[in-house]
């Protein structure tokens, strides 16, 4: 299982932490050199955020809700499950077989804290959408000057 840290989240930068900056540059360069925009683990994820919640989407055609497990532990979201392809008639002659079946497990690390109790997920037309609310203390607060 591969954990992938989100690279572009705003961080409270330490102005004296040059190595951190350098590390970031190297990792960006590495990704550009090898042209690998993903973690190489099924399923690929698209992650976005609004000010209140994270949205994680994945393409899982043919996966049934009962074959999918979604867990949130600390800052991590884990998706695991299986995709089944049922056998066809015995005398079927295959011309092409490009669709995969099997198990999968994928985790992504979000910048917490998360409100694990209020996570919702939908699986529609083969697209999984998980909405993970940020915990109250992680939401931006408007400070009124009195």
């Amino acid at each position: 299982m591969i954990l992938k840290r989100l690279q572009n989240l705003p961080r409270w930068a330490d102005p004296f932490d040059e190595t951190g900056h350098l590390r970031q540059l190297m990792s960006d360069l590495g990704r550009r050199l090898y042209d690998e925009p993903h973690a190489g683990v099924f399923p690929f994820l698209n992650v976005s955020a609004t000010k209140d919640h994270y949205i994680v989407r994945a393409e899982l055609p043919g996966v049934k809700a009962e074959d999918l497990d979604i867990t949130v532990t600390g800052d991590n979201l884990t998706l695991s499950g299986q995709r089944r392809i049922l056998p066809e008639e015995e005398n079927a002659r295959y011309h092409r077989r490009e669709r995969d079946s099997g198990r999968f497990s994928r985790a992504v690390s979000l910048q917490g804290p998360l409100d694990a109790d209020k996570v919702t997920a939908t699986l529609k037309d083969g697209i999984l959408k998980v909405t993970i609310p940020k915990a109250d203390e992680a939401k931006p607060k408007k400070i009124v000057i009195g």
Binding site: F42, P61, G62, R96
Partner: protein
Amino acid sequence: MSDILSEIKAREKKEVAGKAEQTKPGPVFTPSVDIFETETALTVLADLPGVTQANLDIDLHEDVLSIVGHIEEDREPGENVLLKEYETGQYIRKFTLSEVIDQEKIRAELVDGVLRLTLPKVEKAKPRKIQVT
């Protein structure tokens, strides 16, 4: 049962190369398919995640079968992208069929982003005994 299943390999979606110019902007992908044949029919299974019934066009013209699926991007207001591992776009795939298909009896089902297209073959003319009188 799940112990004997192998892990699914992560594969990038195949973008259509050298495509004819599209009227809609954005990438075009080749969906993964399974195609099998029995005595009576040809069946095509295609992975089309995100395609709804209304956004799917299946066409059989002469002997070219084409499957075209459009995607409507789901975007919430104020959404910022943090990680993008896959792109979304149209799906297009065409096949030339060598069998004669009974156009009237073609069936298409789209369930959970998987299309199942059944193309029944035309029944061969039954042998007819001609009586010489």
